[in-house]
């Protein structure tokens, strides 16, 4: 098993947001986490990546059998965890491809592999950039600075394509995307599906799942997974909305 979340409880600013989440993810699987606003979807994604704003108050997360929550964010990344941010951060003054090369080489160094020089790196990203239909200028501009919403999300998936994670967490990657950008991003993600890579796709809307078809769908409500099923569950949610689920959860 790649990832095992057991009874995870998480607090932010004195409010309990995740109240006991269980999830098991095997390599090759794509899991969608759906749920209404405030259900804790993004909190789950951020806690897995090591965001400092959250406090774990119960449960555990095992990644490749190791305690993920004890690892620094950079160590998680080096071990193959990748999060595509809902709001990618603009970092003026740091060149996008320069940064990505440093990140890739940090990963390679961690794995005891040879680091790439500038020429090898440029050759690598040329291919990956095609996948995301990235404009050359997006490589040389500062990280995310002045990027449109769609460009930022494309850049996230581009980073993912270069860093080749074992576990990719996509946090509302569809938010703010028009249909064309959504198609580009989704086909990029689909190209990265592989038997040894798992993905957790966090989304509010079923729309994204028309393009990135999940193996499993989980519905998060008020900090708990209230239903799990196959891809058809997403369609059910699309038809009925989240209201009936919340009522169902309250009734339990």
């Amino acid at each position: 098993m790649l990832l095992e979340i057991k009874g995870l409880r998480v607090k932010a600013e004195d409010k309990e947001i995740l109240k006991g989440v269980d999830l098991r993810v095997d390599p090759g699987q794509v899991h969608a986490i759906m749920g209404p606003n405030g259900s804790g979807k993004s909190t789950l994604a951020r806690v897995l990546s090591g965001h400092p704003d959250y406090e774990v108050i119960g449960g555990e997360v095992l990644y490749k059998g190791r305690d993920l929550l004890a690892m620094d964010p950079e160590d998680r990344a080096r071990e193959g965890v990748f999060m595509a941010f809902q709001y990618p951060v603009e970092i003026p003054g740091i060149n996008n491809s320069y940064f990505l090369k440093a990140a890739l080489n940090a990963l390679k160094k961690h794995r005891g592999e040879e680091e790439l020089d500038a020429v090898e790196f440029m050759a690598l990203i040329k291919d990956k950039a095609k996948l995301l239909e990235m404009d050359q200028s997006m490589m040389t501009r500062s990280v995310n600075e002045g990027f449109s919403g769609g460009e930022k999300k494309r850049n996230e998936i581009f980073h993912m394509a270069v860093l080749e994670p074992k576990l990719a967490i996509l946090d509302e990657t569809d938010s703010g995307l028009d249909i064309d950008a959504l198609k580009i991003v989704s086909s990029g993600v689909n190209a990265l599906r592989s038997p040894d890579r798992a993905m957790i796709v966090v989304t509010h809307y079923q729309r994204l799942l028309n393009y990135i078809v999940p193996d499993f769908v989980h519905v998060l409500s008020e900090g708990r997974i209230v239903r799990s099923g196959g891809k058809e569950l997403a369609h059910e949610l699309e038809e009925k909305g989240y209201t009936w689920l919340e009522q169902g959860a309250a009734a339990r």
Binding site: G50, H51, P52, P73, E74, G93, F99, A103, A106
Partner: protein, 434 residues
């Protein structure tokens, strides 16, 4: 010994030197006498003095200094050189120009770079319009330097001369064990339509306490272009008080990049007088401090004539209990119509105990001008740090990325560009840790 008696010691040192000044030209003897008379009258500044409000210099005043010690060796100053710049090298060692350590044999004819003391013997009258004429006469440490400087470097580039290679003046403090003081003086004279770059660096043995009281004057002739880069990497126990004063002629360009990485107590006065129409001045700075170090930058851009743009960006990175002072004065005189002055100063505080006092000071007497200023003090962006770390970059590397990006605005512009990478590395090496 009281502070008042300390300044008597410097006056006594002047009285001893006076005999050796007897060969000097009358105008210089007079300038020295006036400077020391005023120094004797006013003494060292205290924090009651507006320009020294946040900078307590009593550790300087309370240290007994010997006047000079053994000169440093070539090996000791090697790490302060910029081989990538392929510069003509002039070295001031323990307060005196050193023929031995300098390397000036490839200078083009008519260009003079060498001992100021020697030039005062051979070309005294040529120096009169500039030496002691440009530096602020009312600055207590300038007075002290004017009274006590024994030697230094003269750079004289004749009209219509363009130098491909920069001139590097390195001021090496001596290698003795007792605290010493030196008063190096540099005079830069740029003839009309000349163009060249001066790198001025300061350093001494790490851990050593000494006091460098330096003054640089630059006469920037009409139509000339002078780039001045100052790299201060004194010992972290040293005191560094220095002034760079430029007077710009019509249509000339002067850029100053003031990089302050070392020193225990550091005070820089950088000043540009726009004395001819159409001159353009840039005063940029980058400073780092940690521990209980203090770095104080006072700048003045004086728009005396019309149609002059000026640009100023100062950036600081502070850690530990370090303190910094930034004071940026911009004067726009009544005749200086169509002035366009822009000033920015920003500081990054890496710890809760670091602090900065910052004060832009604009005094505008003309009515058709454009002046802007802005100040920002903040911490490293936590969201950006997390973003970088979530991609696998270590915390310390992520901090370095962000600090390098912060400093980039200043370092990107450095002339000569050949020293940019090394300056960036020197900055990273000097960064406050933790």
């Amino acid at each position: 010994m009281t502070v008042a008696e300390r300044h008597e010691l410097f006056v006594a040192a002047y009285d001893r030197l006076k005999t050796s000044h007897s060969a000097a030209p009358a105008w210089l003897r007079e300038a020295r006498a006036v400077a020391m008379r005023e120094f004797a009258e006013h003494g060292f500044p205290t924090t009651r003095h507006e320009d020294w409000r946040f900078t307590n210099i009593s550790p300087i005043v309370e240290t007994p200094f010997a006047s000079s010690g053994p000169a440093p060796t070539a090996a000791q100053m090697a790490s302060h050189l910029f081989p990538e710049a392929n510069a003509h090298l002039a070295v001031i060692a323990a307060g005196r120009f050193s023929h031995e350590l300098s390397s000036l044999q490839d200078l083009p004819g008519m260009v003079f770079v060498g001992s100021l003391a020697q030039a005062l013997v051979t070309h005294a009258d040529d120096l009169q319009p500039a030496l002691t004429q440009i530096a602020a006469g009312d600055h207590p440490f300038v007075r002290l330097n004017t009274g006590l400087f024994e030697d230094g470097v003269l750079i004289r580039v004749p009209a219509n001369t363009m130098l491909d290679r920069p001139i590097h003046v390195h001021v090496a403090s001596d290698a003795g064990t007792d605290p010493t003081v030196s008063h190096p003086r540099v005079l830069i004279s740029a003839g009309a339509n000349s163009q060249f770059t001066v790198i001025e660096s300061y350093g001494g043995p790490e851990g050593q306490c000494y006091f460098t009281n330096a003054v640089t004057e630059a006469l920037v002739g009409p139509g000339s272009v002078v780039h001045h880069v100052k790299v201060q990497r004194e010992s972290r126990k040293a005191f560094h008080v220095a002034g760079t004063f430029a007077r710009l002629g019509r249509g000339s360009v002067f850029t100053s990049l003031n990089i302050s990485l070392g020193g225990g107590i550091v005070r820089n006065d950088i000043s540009a007088l726009l004395d001819g129409e159409g001159g353009e001045a840039t005063l940029n700075g980058l400073y780092l401090a940690d521990g209980d170090r203090l770095v104080d930058n006072h700048t003045v851009i004086d728009h005396a004539k019309a149609h002059c743009p000026s640009h100023e960006v100062y950036k600081g990175v502070l850690g530990g209990k370090a303190r910094a002072v930034f004071n940026g004065k911009i004067f726009v005189r009544q005749d200086a119509q169509k002035t366009n002055a822009k000033q920015t100063n920003k500081a990054l505080l890496l710890s809760d105990d670091a602090q900065i006092n910052t004060k832009p000071q604009l005094e505008i007497f003309a009515d058709d001008v454009k002046c802007t200023h802005g100040a920002a003090i903040g911490q490293l962006d936590e969201d950006a740090l997390f973003y970088l770390r979530a991609r696998g970059i270590s915390r310390i590397d992520a901090q370095h990325f962000l600090i390098r990006a912060f400093a980039g605005e200043v370092l990107q512009q450095v002339q000569p560009s050949s020293i940019r990478d090394r300056l960036e590395q020197l900055m990273l090496d000097a960064l406050p840790r933790g």
